[in-house]
Symmetry: C2
DNA sequence: GTCTATAGCTAGATAGAC
DNA sequence: GTCTATCTAGCTATAGAC
């Protein structure tokens, strides 16, 4: 058993960076290899299922991240709702580098014929909305109103990241964060 | 001069469909060929610059479409502001098939190393926002407020289309359309 | 203007040495 | 576990017949 040249955390981080920026079809194994510091054959050793498994593994991590940093934080009854929101939004700002980075959910929801990846994107979005739903309800909103604001929060983040990328300015993302804060005032 | 097998309108429509759904890297010439009914070599006859020129041409059309159906409609002083908004939103709903189709701006704002395409995406987004800015100002809003709502309209559309795709339901898009109507009430 | 055929390359994936 | 070398399929792009 030779030691791993690159640990799992660093490996997954490199794969995520390429996938979120280039998407599934745009992310070549050569680029994934360069970004991680592992040669192609080594990537196949870590992910015998190849590029498909790489995308699935990254999305599994992202789904877990959203559950932990968004859903679990937003429904954490030990904190005041306002503090939960600030905490979750802080993690989100960091994850998207204050609007400089694309969203992996957006990148991997393009049509690329990967059913499993699509399922994980869907689950991640549902988890996100569930978190904001709980937050809204804990703030005293009706289920219907809380659902609407949860949907709006996801739309604002996704939309602002697309606009930030397209217009080459993170301004839209900062606007979205403030807007989300304001709808939960 | 042999007659064209496929006219420009139908040709561009086929190319747009593939590009908005698969993105630049995911759209292969084989698929563009199938979608348009022209063989690969014929596509090179129409677009000597190859796939790059295809993407640029599609984006040129999209930019023109947004100028005509969004910007020009929203700033048309011959109509009442409310009617301008309803007209533009109607065109937008149709263009995105009520949330069933992806946005080409989103698809082509992924990193694919095409500077010119990125410029056209940026210009299209600016044109969109300029239209909603004029609408807001004609409704009596301050420039600052009108700019914010213009940005929000673009974010809502882009975000809702990503969410609609990812959660496999056009519900988010319908929500966004209603939301835009409500912020210009 | 469209086509068939094919060049030249890079993609994803595998075999086997170390 | 990582690597070099290599396979095959698919890609973008071109040549030349009709």
């Amino acid at each position: 058993m030779r030691p791993q040249k690159v640990n799992d955390e660093s490996l997954m981080a490199g794969l995520l960076e390429v996938l979120r920026s280039k998407g599934y079809d745009g992310a070549s194994l050569s680029e994934l290899s360069m970004a991680t510091g592992l040669k192609k054959a080594s990537l196949y050793h870590r992910f015998p299922g190849g590029k498909k498994q790489i995308a699935e593994s990254v999305m599994l991590e992202v789904r877990a991240w959203i559950k932990q940093e968004v859903l679990d934080v937003l429904k954490n009854k030990k904190m005041k709702p306002k503090d939960r929101l600030d905490t979750a939004l802080g993690r989100i700002e960091e994850f998207y580098a204050w609007g400089e980075k694309s969203c992996i959910l957006r990148a991997l929801s393009m049509d690329c014929g990967m059913e499993q990846v699509g399922d994980l994107v869907q689950a991640s979005m549902e988890s996100w909305q569930k978190g904001f739903l709980k937050l809204g309800q804990d703030m005293g909103l009706s289920k219907k109103k809380a659902e609407k604001r949860a949907l709006e929060s996801l739309i604002l983040i996704q939309g602002s990241l697309v606009v930030a990328k397209g217009s080459r300015s993170p301004q839209a993302f900062k606007y979205a964060i403030e807007k989300i804060k304001s709808i939960y005032l």
